[in-house]
């Protein structure tokens, strides 16, 4: 930029004045939109996907005329990334923000940006949840309560009964559950399925299978003292080897990335027969498969132990102006009565022992999934499940192993090479 010498200095001063003026103007423009008429308070609730809050929020507003509630729904990844930048910027976050279990360790490092719900007496509610669910949201040796638990993701196995029938396998859900106890038997049944000459593959992709296996272990890449054990924990190596062994075996994997567009097409075209499905996935399976495949899916027991995949918490960012009111609303949305209603509306599995015994939950059947008694199936899986500990740096390491298995699945690497590369990448990610 070549500014004329004579004008330069005066120009700079002038420009500086103008900038200051403009900044002052924009400063005035950033008004406060939450302060309405009288003492009406607006609370925003930000979630990803459908949490089933709409009818509940209507009831709440009717009972609390001074409170106006807005729901903000964004896509999963975008929701959490936006929350991170808004916490960093100190503005823009909703009064209540949902945080998924997988993101909790990452956000726990920034707990100062959240309200300690213990200050409002959240500890008195502890008994409401399954103990492991309650503990997932704690920090500071239990003195800091980051969020109130919403749903959880007890594991089950979804299968296409029509494809099972065509392959000469049992169709009825108890008989299917009896086909396996562990994953080895599950893969062996897969061999039988492939042997029948079915055009469909046995499962959707290694991503889901490996995720399910890892969620059945008490801890994965980090032990409960948060030390990295990805290279020494036999549970990791065992799961990795089991999945790697079938990843590129003909007929086994449809080689689809979970949640991708191609995965959805796979449901519609029926390109695979089974996949591990936490309760929140039922909606995705139904949407992907479409009405033409209604009644073809059914639900059986997951191979291996029970496990949890997913589930969220409602947190209250500190930057909000109405922390107390936000807490009261979060308490209402996570109450046993609300969770029971949510389960019936959108199928999110309650994370509370009392709700899991609620007859309305236990007796609930899902028409799309061949009228499977989903309430009973998932309540049982929820009570017996083995929670999985996630280390603080889990998000840095977990994807590394997932990508390694994807390389095996794509036929780019042998299992041994993929494992070696994963270990070195994980070490590098943690090296800093």
């Amino acid at each position: 930029m070549a500014a004329g010498g004579v004008f330069a200095r005066r120009g700079v001063r002038l420009a500086a004045g103008l900038v200051a003026g403009a900044l002052a103007l924009t400063g005035c423009g950033g008004g406060d939109d939450s302060a309405g008429e009288g003492d009406k308070i607006t609370l925003t609730v930000a979630t990803f996907s459908d949490f089933g809050y709409e009818p509940l929020v209507k009831d709440y507003m009717a009972a609390h005329p001074n409170i106006e509630i807005k729901l903000r729904v964004t896509e999963f990844d975008q929701h959490h990334k936006q929350l991170a930048t808004r916490l960093g910027a100190g503005a823009g976050a909703a009064d209540i923000e949902a945080v998924e279990e997988g993101y909790i360790p990452q956000f726990r490092q920034s707990k100062d940006k959240f309200v300690n719900l213990a200050d409002f007496g959240a500890k008195d509610l502890a008994k409401q949840w399954l103990p492991w669910k309650w503990e997932q949201s704690l920090a500071d040796n239990g003195n800091f309560v980051m969020g109130l638990g919403t749903d959880m993701g007890g594991l089950a196995l979804c299968y296409r009964s029509d494809l099972f029938k065509a392959a000469g396998l049992p169709v009825e859900r108890d008989a299917v559950s009896a086909l396996w106890t562990g994953w080895d038997e599950y893969f062996a049944v897969g061999d039988r399925f492939i042997g029948s000459g079915s055009k469909a593959k046995w499962f959707d992709g290694v991503g889901n299978i490996y995720q399910a296996m890892m969620n059945q272990t008490p801890y994965g890449y980090f032990d409960t003292s948060d030390a990295y054990v990805g290279d020494s924990n036999p549970a990791v190596k065992t799961a990795f080897d089991k999945v790697a062994a079938v990843a590129n075996k003909p007929g086994m994997s449809a080689k689809l990335d979970p949640f991708s567009q191609q995965w959805n097409v796979g449901f519609k075209q029926g390109t695979f027969a089974t996949l591990p499905c936490p309760s929140w996935m039922l909606g995705l399976i139904k949407d992907g498969s479409g009405p033409e495949n209604a009644g073809k899916w059914d639900i059986a027991k997951i191979p291996g132990n029970g496990g949890n995949w997913g589930g969220s918490f409602l947190t209250v960012p500190k930057q909000g102006k109405h922390a107390k009111e936000a807490y009261e609303l979060a308490k209402f949305l996570t109450s046993p009565e609300s969770e029971a209603k949510i389960f019936q509306n959108v199928g999110s599995l309650p994370s509370q022992p009392e709700t899991l015994k609620n007859p309305a939950v236990l007796g609930f059947k899902n028409e799309y999934f061949s009228n499977a008694p989903v309430g009973e199936i998932y309540a049982k899986s929820g009570e017996t499940l083995q929670p999985n500990y996630r280390g603080t740096k889990d998000a840095d390491v977990r994807p590394v192993f997932g990508r390694a298995l994807a390389r095996v699945e794509q036929g780019k690497q042998s299992a041994a090479d993929a494992w070696t590369q994963a270990l070195s990448e994980a070490g590098k990610a943690l090296g800093k």
């Binding site: 002038l14 900038v19 403009a22 991170a84 920034s110 100062d112 949640f259 567009q261 390109t271």
Partner: protein
């Protein structure tokens, strides 16, 4: 007195909006990013202390950075170079007495105004492994289906196709505008001298629109080096971490920045990548400037 003040003040007021906007949205972020890159900066928790050039030395020692740089250059070359040549040809065609000229001219801009998300969705289907059109066509001539995102070359080709599809028309219109400003009598005298249309194109049109070619080259270079939306959206939705495939086969520099900053919350490293990218782009722009000037001048 007032008149003099007016005369001195008014020009500054006229140019002020640009400088104000530039200061707020250009200079400030640039300097703030530089500041962040010298610190251990967590996306949410903020400043974790001054660490000098440690972020830079870490970055240069990181093989993933060099991988991203190579990917970016490869994608840049295979998308920008053909794109500009096709655009030049397209502009020459649109500059002739075509039937329904306005329709074609407006038409070439359509890919550019369609949302990049929609374009990426469509291309993900086109390059789908199991049910994609490209693989279906390959199957007709007896070729095995290709898992496009799985390999380096195939993922780069697919992404380059998306980029070329989106930006060729835009560049063609810019060339067309420049070509319309070429005086007709130059073509007439060229024809009198016995030059073919082909020859006239290279000896009359191209030298005259040289500044425009320089402009599009610089702009495409900047855009190409910052390639982000197309490869990110090429990733499947379930894995939108910015890693660019199972082995980082199509991770560009900006995707690497995204991975560091928004997936791993390491804003200090992300800021460092942003600054290194800025310097690379500046270097390329200078290089471009020199090369295009010389080669086009020598024609």
């Amino acid at each position: 007195m007032r008149g003099r003040l007016d005369r001195h003040l008014t020009p500054y007021l006229f140019v002020a909006p640009f400088f104000v906007l530039f200061a707020v949205f250009g200079a400030y972020p640039l300097l703030a990013t530089l500041w962040m890159s010298l610190h251990d900066w967590h996306l949410i928790n903020g400043d974790g202390g001054y660490i000098g050039l440690a972020n830079y030395s870490d970055l240069f020692a990181d093989p993933d950075f060099w991988n991203a740089l190579v990917n970016t250059l490869s994608l840049f070359v295979i998308s920008t170079v053909p794109q500009l040549f096709i655009a030049l040809g397209l502009a020459a065609l649109l500059n002739t007495k075509l039937r329904g000229r306005t329709f074609w001219r407006a038409g070439v801009l359509v890919p550019n105004v369609v949302s990049v998300v929609a374009v990426a969705l469509v291309f993900a289907q086109v390059f789908g492994r199991d049910f994609g059109i490209v693989n279906w066509l390959l199957g007709l001539v007896g070729m095995e289906p290709i898992d496009w995102p799985a390999n380096v070359w195939s993922s780069h080709l697919a992404i380059a196709a998306i980029v070329t599809w989106r930006w060729t028309g835009y560049n063609a219109l810019i060339y067309l505008a420049a070509m319309q400003a070429v005086p007709n009598d130059l073509y007439e005298s060229a024809r009198l001298d016995g030059a073919s249309t082909w020859k006239a194109f290279w000896t009359v049109t191209v030298p005259i629109i040289r500044p425009t070619i320089l402009f599009t080259t610089v702009v495409s270079t900047i855009g190409g080096l910052q390639l982000f939306a197309e490869p990110l959206l090429f990733e499947s939705k379930g894995a939108s971490t910015g890693t660019g495939g199972s082995d980082r086969q199509y991770q560009t520099i900006t995707m690497y920045l995204y991975e560091k900053g928004f997936t791993l919350f390491d804003a200090g490293s992300a800021a460092t990548i942003a600054w290194v990218l800025f310097l690379i782009v500046a270097l390329f722009a200078l290089f471009n400037f020199a090369v295009v000037r010389r080669t086009v001048a020598s024609r």
